[in-house]
């Protein structure tokens, strides 16, 4: 009873002056920048306030931030905040509030389509990365090997398979969920021999990309076997010289998606299931000249927005 009363007081105290949107996020540089971009993009239309939280915030504290804000739309950044937001709607199915999840890992898998929370994926779609690589290098691509873990990025992997098949690219997926670290190298070697793919697509997952796999597996695949690796970590396509091409999210692209969902919620009265978790389209693209040269790819095209890294690579 006391709790309800406190909430009511909080609500009333904000009556008439609540912002349209509240961004609930930890105090991290990238999140701050993204927050600013969203605010700027909405500046003519909607008001936005920010509630800073500790990364380890409890559910009760998180809920208080929502209630206190009186906002119509909540943008939650970081996985802990996103989990709390999901929980909030489980407890309040009648809520008119709508949520947006951003800057979390594997949101495609974490948030199935629902009425309350839409999201913006942080991972770049396999379709986009592969198409970007194809356009940059003007290479033919028929078969692709995708490495993933089903408990982490099943949807990301499977959607890429469907989307690439429309483009007549055959993505063979290898789920390493039950493959031990010791057996990983042999598994990948076996698949490479069997499929002879035109390229490999690595999903961001610490079981797939870590210091051990980089030095004992992927370095060899890229440099000795000369198989092009497409990934989502820019450093690997730059000085580390392992990925021939990387596509990573541009904050501006995430900000645009978030603000367009906010607009859809408020102006068009859409529910979250109209969006689901959307992929971004605005990305940072990097290709590695040293690796391309070593693979005999000479058809590199100057494409707007693709950075060609031609600096030194480690051990190159």
């Amino acid at each position: 009873m006391k709790k309800t009363l406190v909430m009511l007081v909080l609500l009333l105290s904000n009556f008439g002056q609540a912002a349209d949107v509240v961004v609930i996020r930890p105090d991290v540089e990238d999140f701050r920048k993204l927050n600013e971009m969203v605010a700027q993009s909405l500046s003519n239309d909607y008001t936005l306030e920010t509630a800073l939280i500790a990364k380890s915030i409890s559910y009760e504290e998180f809920q208080e931030k929502i209630v206190k804000s009186g906002a119509r739309v909540v943008v939650a950044m970081d996985n802990q905040a996103i989990r709390h937001l999901k929980h909030y709607f489980e407890l309040n199915p009648q809520s008119k509030l709508r949520g947006i999840a951003a800057m979390g890992v594997n949101l495609k898998d974490l948030i199935p389509k629902n009425k309350y929370i839409a999201g913006v994926a942080y991972e770049v779609a396999g379709y986009l990365a592969v198409k970007g690589f194809k356009a940059t290098t003007d290479t033919k691509m028929k078969s692709l090997l995708g490495i993933y873990r089903s408990s982490v990025s099943r949807i990301l992997a499977e959607e890429a398979q469907v989307q690439l098949s429309r483009e007549k690219i055959d993505l063979k997926l290898v789920d390493i969920e039950d493959v031990s670290d010791d057996a990983l190298n042999a598994t990948i070697e076996r698949e490479l021999k069997k499929i002879k793919p035109d390229a490999i697509w690595l999903m961001n997952d610490n079981k797939i990309i870590n210091s051990r796999t980089l030095s004992t597996l992927w370095l060899n695949v890229a440099r000795q076997q000369k198989v092009p690796i497409i990934c989502g970590i820019q450093k690997l396509a730059k000085e580390l010289g392992i990925c021939v091409y990387s596509e990573t999210p541009a904050l501006q692209g995430i900000a645009e998606k978030i603000s367009s969902i906010i607009f859809g919620y408020i102006a068009d009265e859409h529910d979250a299931d109209f969006y689901g978790v959307e992929y971004i389209q605005d990305t940072e693209k990097t290709t590695n000249k040293y690796l391309l040269d070593s693979m005999g790819v000479t058809s590199l095209k100057q494409i707007e927005g693709v950075e060609v890294y031609s600096g030194k690579i480690q051990g190159g």
Partner: protein
């Protein structure tokens, strides 16, 4: 002889208020490479010294224009209907001489589901997007916007929408770049092709003398002036 004619033309135009080194701002929701279009524009004798800026997003054009309007702007027909800062001077035509076109509603499926969602390029502000969509596609319902023309097809490919609203020009580019099977569900309502605009209050004349080939990267040519 041709050189002399061009020279005379440039001279007479500069007398008519066409200063050298004009600023030209371009926002066209047609998929194109900025470099190629800049080159084409600068190859026109009238715009040889023009300072051309190409924008992929409407908001970037408007931001740049808000500090100092461009003397000449190349913009979609919708711009004139929703904004008052530029005035249409020369209507551009399709290669076959048409003044208008119809958007195509394109999907991976042969039939649109009822209440289908459609991806559109934000060639008007987000606030006006719904209204604009009704003008160019009265049968279209729920829309999702994308800022850049080159990102439109990806909305469909990434499963974000059931269909996309594409100009015939963009459809040709998409078909060249994609191996996917695409279906045209139906055509939208007529919309005028883009125009050459001038800043409101400007006295620039003679833009109808731009060369027909100047807009070739957009599949357009100069039509009759207003």
């Amino acid at each position: 002889m041709k050189m002399l004619r061009d020279l005379l033309l440039v001279t007479s135009l500069s007398h008519a208020g066409m200063a050298q080194g004009q600023s030209v701002g371009v926002f066209i929701p047609w998929i194109h490479e900025s470099k190629e279009l800049t080159k084409a524009l600068n190859s026109d004798p009238l715009l040889a010294k023009a300072d051309v800026m190409i924008f992929q997003k409407l908001e970037d054009f408007q931001l740049a224009s808000s500090t100092k309007p461009f003397e000449i702007a190349i913009l979609p027909a919708s711009y004139g209907r929703y904004n008052a800062d530029y005035v249409e001077k020369v209507q551009l035509l399709s290669a076959s001489g048409e003044k208008s076109f119809k958007h195509l509603i394109v999907s991976f499926k042969k039939d649109a589901p009822p209440d289908f969602s459609v991806g559109v390029i934000e060639e008007v502000s987000r606030k006006n997007l719904k209204l604009w969509l009704k003008e160019v596609c009265s049968r279209c319902g729920k829309q999702k916007g994308v800022k850049k023309a080159k990102d439109l097809y990806n909305m469909l490919a990434l499963g974000s929408v059931d269909a996309v609203l594409v100009s015939p020009f963009n459809f040709e580019v998409i078909k060249r770049e994609s191996a996917a099977e695409l279906y045209v569900l139906f055509s939208g309502d007529p919309e005028n092709l883009p125009s050459v605009y001038v800043a409101k209050g400007s006295s620039i004349k003679g833009l109808e003398n731009l060369k027909a080939s100047t807009f070739a990267p957009l599949g357009l040519k100069v039509g009759v002036g207003k």
